[in-house]
């Protein structure tokens, strides 16, 4: 049975924050209050797992990554990463973890080529020259950075920079890598390269990954999804389970002939309309709709040119999940 790489129990973390009053004078009347970023979250991550931490902005994802990487400490609860207390044994833990903070907190030196950061990483982690050479060759190939890593970082595109950031976090072959929104604003080819590298590193070297993201394509590589909302864990399981719980519907897409008169009200009665354009309606419907008379009646309409019935995609399921949360019908923990 794979061992636990991360074990978080009832983690609570609060921050002091401020709120201005209304209007111009309000900026002089600042109210401070404690905001609970995490309200007792427990989770674990197994060896060689890829776990996606999901949630809307302010749900506590980044705080959780910072707690696990030892940058912050919890107000209460306990956190163990590789059997170490991240806060108390930060420098020791840092030898065994990799962390990527998206494009906002770069690790690459802005005025130097990524190669200088790689050499710096090699030296501070004590990587042997032979290992460094082979790892760099591997990363250059899998991330396609061979042509860019010797150019000044400031001259690279965001995608190129993020691939080099990723390489700089992997060179020491950490046992676990925390990635906080690593692909925000990154172009598709670079996103694909990073995703492929994550999968390959897990398969070849058994590296564990925990990532936060809002990009659905990134989530698809995850073995497990942990959904946070307002500092609480709402879901922890496989994508299929999320689909079972929040994706109990089918997507019906109707295409109408050009110039056909469409009775939107009639079709809207079939389910929840999520998209409506000229000659097109997208609906969330009961998965068993094909057995209904209403579905059969669709084909009596001569205006219909084509239709498609499919399972909902992950982004649609997540949207439904957030709607469900907002309607205060909280799913069980």
């Amino acid at each position: 049975m794979p061992k636990n790489m991360v074990e978080v129990r009832d983690a609570v973390k609060s921050f002091k924050t401020y709120e201005n009053g209304k209007g111009f004078l309000g900026s002089f009347r600042r109210k401070s209050f404690m905001k609970k970023a995490l309200k007792g979250v427990s989770l674990n991550v197994k060896e060689s797992e890829i776990v996606a931490l999901l949630g809307r902005n302010g749900s506590g994802k980044s705080t959780m990554i910072k707690l696990m990487s030892g940058i912050l400490y919890p107000d209460s609860g306990s956190i163990e990463v590789l059997n170490m207390n991240p806060w108390k044994e930060r420098t020791k833990l840092a030898m065994n973890i990799g962390v990527i903070f998206g494009s906002t907190h770069p690790q690459l030196f802005w005025d130097l080529p990524p190669l200088d950061t790689f050499i710096y990483v090699k030296e501070i982690y004590g990587i042997r020259q032979r290992d460094y050479d082979s790892r760099l060759a591997y990363l250059k190939k899998i991330l396609s950075i061979g042509k860019v890593y010797k150019r000044q970082t400031r001259q690279l595109s965001l995608g190129e920079r993020m691939k080099c950031e990723f390489a700089a976090s992997i060179l020491h072959m950490p046992k676990i890598v925390f990635m906080d929104e690593p692909t925000v604003g990154v172009d598709l080819p670079s996103r694909i390269a990073i995703s492929r590298a994550v999968i390959d590193l897990r398969e070849k070297f058994g590296i564990t990954f925990v990532l936060t993201t809002h990009v659905v394509d990134d989530i698809t590589i995850a073995d497990r999804i942990i959904l946070l909302d307002k500092g609480r864990k709402l879901f922890d399981g496989k994508q299929e389970e999320l689909k079972k719980r929040f994706g109990k519907y089918a997507i019906l897409e109707l295409y109408f002939k050009p110039g056909a008169r469409v009775d939107y009200a009639k079709y809207g009665a079939l389910g929840e309309v999520f998209s409506k354009k000229d000659g097109y309606i997208g609906l969330k419907v009961d998965p068993d709709i094909t057995k209904s008379d209403a579905f059969a009646s669709i084909f009596k309409d001569e205006g219909i040119e084509d239709y498609r019935l499919s399972e909902p995609g992950l982004s649609s399921i997540l949207e439904s999940t957030y709607k469900y949360i907002d309607s205060n019908k909280r799913p069980e923990k």
Partner: protein, 264 residues
């Protein structure tokens, strides 16, 4: 030095070298502030018709002002700005994920820029002044001067570290830093040699760390401080450096628990 921290030094040296021309230019323009002070003092000597004030002549005053102007890298604790910037932007997070101790790293990463400043600005100006003014320093005075400069660097940066740590609570420390550096300048001999102050005040100030930033190195170079007093002053400077280091360690222990690198 631990090899990890030598790597920090090397990479930040490379980074600083990307701006070497700008740093050298900074050093040169910094001298202009000395020129302003020299003109002010020329006017004072001219209109008071004095040839010497408390033993300080206009020529020794001019040399002194140029000397302290050339050690401008000792007058501003860059480490405080670095700490403030890291905390305000949250970039401290990028440093804390590495297997290095942040206070060591931030202290080391500021050294290369100051070395470039001192090699491209201070050293040539020292040599020019030495030759033009016809000064004579013994090997012991040169050694003492070198040690004093290192001590001054440690003192200003330990103070800078303590002030910079406040950024976690008040975010913008520029005002505090500006006020404090002006105070250092006034109390340390950055505006005029401390010899011109009342004797009691001079005696009190010489017991504080401030003269090590301006008056002690400037006075050693110009000969205003007798050579026999230098070893004692160096010992005092070393004690101050150790005391400030101790305070910085205590402050950091407190501050590091309060770091809130919120959001990304």
């Amino acid at each position: 030095m631990n090899s990890k921290y030598f790597s920090v030094f090397k990479v930040f040296s490379k980074n600083a070298m990307a701006y070497r021309a700008e740093i050298a230019l900074d050093a040169t323009f910094y001298m202009l502030s000395s020129l302003v002070m020299v003109i002010v003092w020329m006017a004072v000597y001219h209109f008071s018709a004095l040839t010497s004030i408390n033993g300080v002549t206009i020529s020794s005053m001019t040399i002194y002002l140029f000397v302290i102007g050339s050690i401008g890298f000792l007058s501003w604790p860059g480490i405080a700005n670095a700490l403030e910037s890291d905390m305000r932007s949250g970039e401290i997070a990028s440093s804390l994920i590495r297997p290095i101790k942040y206070p060591y790293a931030i202290f080391i990463r500021d050294i290369p820029e100051n070395l470039i400043f001192s090699l491209a600005g201070t050293l040539p100006i020292f040599i020019i002044i030495y030759v033009i003014a016809g000064l004579h320093l013994t090997a012991m005075q040169v050694l003492m001067l070198a040690i004093e400069m290192v001590l001054a660097y440690l003192i200003i940066n330990f103070i800078g570290f303590i002030i910079g740590s406040l950024a976690i609570y008040i975010t913008d420390i520029y005002g505090i830093l500006s006020g404090i550096t002006w105070m250092f300048s006034l109390l340390g001999g950055g505006i005029m040699p401390l010899l011109l102050y009342p004797k009691l005040l001079y005696g009190i100030l010489m017991l504080t760390p401030f003269p090590f930033l301006y008056f002690v190195p400037g006075g050693t170079f110009t000969g205003m401080i007798p050579a026999a007093q230098l070893p004692g002053l160096v010992a005092e400077g070393a004690i101050w450096a150790l005391v400030l280091l101790g305070i910085a360690v205590v402050v950091w222990k407190r501050v590091s628990r309060d770091i809130n690198a919120v959001g990304v």
